[in-house]
Symmetry: C2
Subunit: 424 residues, 2 copies
């Protein structure tokens, strides 16, 4: 059977139902400006989890909870020996978050299950939809806590001992909202996933700019973050001639421009951002004596990150010296670059092609649960555009046709890996 | 009589006495770190004024107060028709100010009077020492309030209606500390001053850098201050490729470097400073969507300030456009450049030469009371070095030999203008 013929046998998801579920879930923690506030392990998170679990049970899925609160909803396959094919994301949000970040991936997975139920399709391998605990990290650090624990990056005891600013621990809050489960982190009935696919809004402008509905995510950029401190000497703006200044702001301005040059030299995947700047004493007529700022470097490969690091360390001291200042550079965060599984990436691409959906390969600039899952299982991601590339914002938005397209790509990629055994 | 012979007849001030008075006055409002907090029209300012007035009375001077609290202490001359030669400065300080800023000029003037008393010298013209109200402007705006009112720049009613953050007015506070006088602003018995000389610490690093004890101040830089607002678009640092950014911080960094280039093109008197920067949202992994910053341009002549203004207005929009941002420039402060009276400047230079004191011509980068007085009377200034050029700081410091040198230059310049009639 040719692929065209095979694909014509496969169903489509119910885009209207997926959209309605997104809107329903967004009512839990809805904000006046149209966003969602459903911070990890709060009562709002519990209500969202309860809704998801109720939907899963209504769809006949078997729900398990692990020891850090990750939720797994399984639809059995026909082959008891087959390892499951999974999908998922998160439903916790930023304090002023949107309706789609995370929620789209979770509910697209649920919609896949519902569609298979409607069509009476049985798969060879079991399927699972996962809700990962605390992806956002806005209340408890580290970010991507649940998927990181699942992948063995963080010990469950470490995770449960993490505190919010009020001193409440993850363990206490899991117990309080009744989502501390029995399953050990990383345990999967029948063995680790054969594959994991995560659908997500892009959270950036690339797909919208290219006017394409689907991004085939080949991996995620590595990240290295720094604190930079430039020290000069405060002095009055009036009586201090230019040649006698130790101007920490001028030195910092040149470094900020240099961060941009360093990133441009690593096109297309190099990124360099100075998002935070603190000036002392920050008075109009005083030459700044001290400026601290952040540097966020990202690149698709570690050697690229190494080049960016080296370029910064080579240039900043010279820039500082040119302004009679000193500079200190301290690395504060590191995430390795991630390349998704070639077969998973191909599955996603083939699904988009079969559906006739225009697409491009993209690299995720942000971290996602799939990046941690990729450390223990073959993984891939599907991006859909979001309006103006805006996310982590109450005005986050996406088009129904893109949500539907992403759901259909997810369905096909999962079925291609799990195998279709029979249709009702 | 040759100048050398004439000068040898003139006395020297008592440097130790001047230093002791500086240290005594610094006890009023002394801070634990060795500085002074004597903010305008507070109880501390009253105590400082009372001490000055007591010293003046002990020196036989006649004290008058004007309607905005300026204090005038006169030593009569022999010629009833001669207009007075004046000196002075201020004794209010910044909240964490030093012992010398302002106080040096006032007490050097008092020391001139004491020296003439000791030597039994009578001058042809009367001499006056003036304490100007609220030069610093840290409690009440505008700065240089007393001298500005004296020069007719501000109406006395306007000055008296100015409020501090607690709502107290200058008028109320003058009455409360009993320094609201009868003399009309700008009135001087016998007519406006024939000349005004103000001794002051440099508040900058030029004299120290040149290792010279005396600065002949030829004028004061004009100032134009601006608020600049750069608007881009907030976006996540990760998912937003470099070419799709609207990075308000990158644009601002390039503008800050441009401010420096504009000032360097106007060497030696052009100055350009960005002292205040505010970044939104100021988060490490968010490309800044809005940055506002201050620009402080100074130059010795208005055409230079005009060129700086034009260069900024020509370059900033192009820099903004290069980062897909918009920019708004708003001028918020303007002080015209000031050239001191040629004869007064010569008098100061000649005094330094006669004393064999190494000196250089300098332009004041900051505003001083003398700049306002120069609008109504011939004026000049004498600078002495301060340690590391630091002022408006509790660690402000100066060397006794420089304080003495400045006092002697002041004495000679005043006597040259007032005329020595007789010696006891």
């Amino acid at each position: 059977m040719k692929p065209e013929a095979a694909s014509s046998l496969l169903p489509s998801i119910d885009g209207a139902r997926l959209w309605a579920s997104l809107m329903d879930l967004a009512q839990i923690g809805a904000t006046p400006k149209g966003g969602v506030c459903r911070i990890a392990l709060t009562d709002g998170d519990r209500a969202g989890r309860d809704q998801f679990v109720a939907w899963c049970k209504a769809a006949g899925l078997a729900v398990r909870i692990d020891e850090v609160g990750n939720i797994f909803a399984r639809r059995d396959g026909t082959d008891p020996a087959a390892r499951a094919v999974a999908t998922g994301s998160h439903i916790d949000t930023q304090p002023t978050g949107g309706k789609f970040d995370g929620n789209f991936g979770v509910l697209a997975g649920l919609e896949v299950m519902r569609t298979l139920n409607d069509q009476g399709i049985r798969t060879r391998a079991p399927l699972e939809v996962v809700v990962w605990t605390n992806e956002e990290g806005s209340r408890f650090t580290p970010v991507m806590m649940g998927s990181g624990a699942f992948a063995g990056v963080f010990a469950p005891d470490f995770i449960r001992s993490q505190k919010d600013v009020g001193g409440a621990t993850v363990g206490d809050e899991l117990a309080r909202i009744q989502y501390r489960g029995e399953q050990a982190c990383g345990d999967v009935p029948g063995g680790m996933y054969a594959g994991y696919f995560e659908a997500h809004i892009e959270q950036g402008p690339v797909l919208e700019d290219a006017q394409l509905p689907i991004g085939i995510v080949s991996g995620a950029l590595g990240q290295q973050w720094y604190d930079v401190t430039v020290t000069g000497m405060d002095a009055h703006a009036g009586p201090t001639p230019m040649p006698l200044r130790h101007d920490a702001m001028l030195a910092s301005a040149r470094m900020i421009d240099e961060v941009n040059r360093i990133a441009l030299a690593e096109a297309p995947h190099g990124r360099g951002t100075v998002g935070y700047v603190n000036v002392k004493p920050n008075s109009r007529n005083v030459i700044p004596g001290a400026v601290s700022f952040s540097v966020d470097f990202r690149n698709a490969a570690q050697d690229g990150l190494d080049r960016m690091d080296a370029a910064m360390r080579a240039s900043f001291p010279a820039i500082a010296a040119g302004c009679k200042c000193d500079v200190e550079i301290k690395q504060v965060v590191k995430f390795e670059p991630c390349a998704f599984d070639a077969a998973c990436v191909s599955s996603v691409r083939q699904a988009a092609q079969e559906l006739g959906l225009a697409h491009m390969d993209v690299v995720s600039g942000a971290g996602h649960d799939a990046v941690y899952v990729a450390q223990v299982a073959p993984a891939g991601m599907i991006f859909v555009p979001c309006k103006n590339g805006i996310s982590h914002n109450e005005i986050e938005d996406a088009l129904p046709e893109h949500i539907t397209a992403g759901g259909n790509v997810l369905l096909r990629a999962m079925l291609a890996m799990a195998g279709v055994e029979s249709r009702g």
